[in-house]
Symmetry: C2
Subunit: 349 residues, 2 copies
């Protein structure tokens, strides 16, 4: 398949305009488009502009409030519990991060739970924003049911990801952003769009049998990474993001694509640390760079040319994509074009 590449700044402008067309205030539309396009820029194509259509459709159906405020429902010292007002996940999470930054600057650490939210894309977007300010954001979110507890075969947990970014002196952030499933659900959706099978060990069908069929896998359950360990971590994420926030938990969470009649009510958890509260920043930077150098100098297994630091590959992709543009599939182009027509926006990429 021949891919065409498009300038990321132009796409941001287009998506900002589409969001504004759907009733999102300008500043919020800018947050949304930045979050989405940055995912594509970094090669996380499953969490970028391919999702614009569903976010806008959910606004159009009244399932997401494009003008929602965030409400701090509870505050003690370094902790806030936030109601996202059923607004756009990206926008509300970004606003919560903005609230946390001065708290963490003041007390060294700050945490927030966010309830009544929606799918909010790639967690590393928020983590990278924190790392830009020499802070470390540990972030988790629950997600629509996809994964069974170890020993079960009923979708209960989402693919419940954990993310953290760490600033370095190497020109890129260490970027950890992983689902607690064997693979992110996005990978199965991607295989589905390409008409491929998935490898064995990824998923169970709706009857609890192993499957390589994408449709059966999407109707069934994704397996947890490393068996009971992934189960335990998915449960931790569910407690932090769902139970502690007051959001929906487990199978009560609405599906973004399937449930076009109710809100998702996702929950997120942010824990933000100011590095300087623990250690002088130049010392930290020297230490983190020394660790990176040591890891990259480790002896390599046969066939391995380079040991990569998490985030290094996506940093390289980002450099390339900022220059040549980001690839957009025909399916996504078609969706964007239709949205532009609907809101009378010139389709200029």
């Amino acid at each position: 398949m021949i891919m065409k590449y498009y300038d990321s700044q132009k796409i941001k402008k287009l998506i900002t305009d589409i969001a504004k067309g759907a009733g999102v205030p300008e500043r919020d539309a800018l947050i949304l488009s930045d979050a989405l396009v940055e995912a594509d820029v970094h090669g996380t194509y499953t969490h970028g502009i391919s999702r614009v259509n569903i976010y806008i459709r959910r606004i159009q159906r009244g399932l997401t409030n494009p003008r929602a405020d965030i409400t701090v429902e509870r505050r003690r010292g370094s902790v806030i519990a936030v109601d996202a007002g059923n607004g756009l996940g990206h926008v509300q999470a970004y606003k919560v991060l903005e609230l946390l930054i001065p708290i963490a600057k003041s007390t060294g650490i700050a945490a927030a739970t966010i309830r009544n939210s929606q799918h909010f894309g790639a967690l590393s977007y928020y983590c990278n924003k924190a790392a830009d300010k020499d802070m470390i954001l540990f972030a988790t979110t629950n997600a629509e049911p996809a994964m069974a507890p170890e020993g079960g075969y009923q979708a209960y947990f989402g693919t419940n990801p954990i993310a953290v970014s760490i600033p370095t002196g190497k020109g890129y952030h260490i970027k950890i952003d992983l689902s607690t499933s064997v693979v992110a659900r996005g990978n199965i959706i991607a295989a589905s769009k390409e008409g491929k099978e998935i490898p064995p060990g990824w998923a169970l069908d709706p009857d609890g049998n192993p499957t390589v069929d994408v449709e059966k896998a999407l109707a069934g359950t994704v397996l947890t990474m490393a068996g009971h360990k992934g189960y335990a971590l998915a449960l931790m994420v569910e407690v932090f993001s769902g139970v502690l926030s007051g959001a929906a938990v487990g199978s009560s969470i609405g599906s973004m694509y399937k449930n076009l009649d109710r809100k998702q009510d996702l929950g997120h958890f942010f824990c933000l640390m100011d590095i300087d509260a623990f250690m002088d920043l130049p010392v930290f930077r020297k230490r983190i760079d020394a660790m990176i150098d040591e890891i990259k100098a480790c002896k390599k297994r046969p066939g391995i040319e380079e040991i990569l630091i998490p985030g290094e590959r996506s940093f390289r992709i980002a450099n390339k994509n900022r220059e040549r543009g980001i690839p957009i599939s025909n399916a996504t182009l078609k969706e964007l074009r239709a949205l532009c027509e609907q809101y009378n926006i010139p389709f200029a990429l």
Copy 2:
């Protein structure tokens, strides 16, 4: 092998006396013996009294300071950076937890890094203490080199565990305590003591080849769980526990058993949250119990009788072990007997 069982209270008394004999102040000796015996009580035999001998030997060789204080080197608001003074890991970590509790009660969340420490046993000991107070402790530690980064075969990371306990209304805490390796190094040591082979997929030999030989595995590297995901999480643990604390990092960490000429200089990370800062406690308890009920009611895969919550199995073992006593291997009995003789303590179990 016929196992004999011994009363846990009597063993605590014995280990307290041995520690006092080695120069540990009484209160600290009580912390150490409680931490060790509770690991055995909960079935974590790899992190309990089988380690007494090495802890005491390291004190005897002057590698651990049995009377060390903890020093808060840096404090800002809800964050403390602590120097453990090369004291006993269990004792110093417990003291740090005691410092964190009032901070988290006041500001909702508190974090500590701990450097200049030693092997401190099972993380869930500290996490459970926090859960006893309706708080959630997220804990990590680095550890002596055992695991290569993804793509490498040189021991760099320890098995870098992550732990968190969550209070419930079910009579037990959810207890998550997992190494980021395929298995904890303790499992390989246990296989070694029993003269068994390890399953394929656990480890690489010193030349980077897969192995089932325990000695080669112990000389080589343990594999990360779930490949690059375990690598990413091990790196996160190393940053939180090692880089950010000022402790030794990666392959600079001393081995407890092999390096009998230098300190370990381990680093730990504690992040303590007061549930009540986020949500009314009765509401949280109701929500966590509802989640547990839902998970346990999920459809079971063939051959699975019950879906277990992390911590449920060890809770049942603890009930059994408190009643019948804890099993002690002949090797450990012999070590304890020798220590008793050395310190003129009656060996009364």
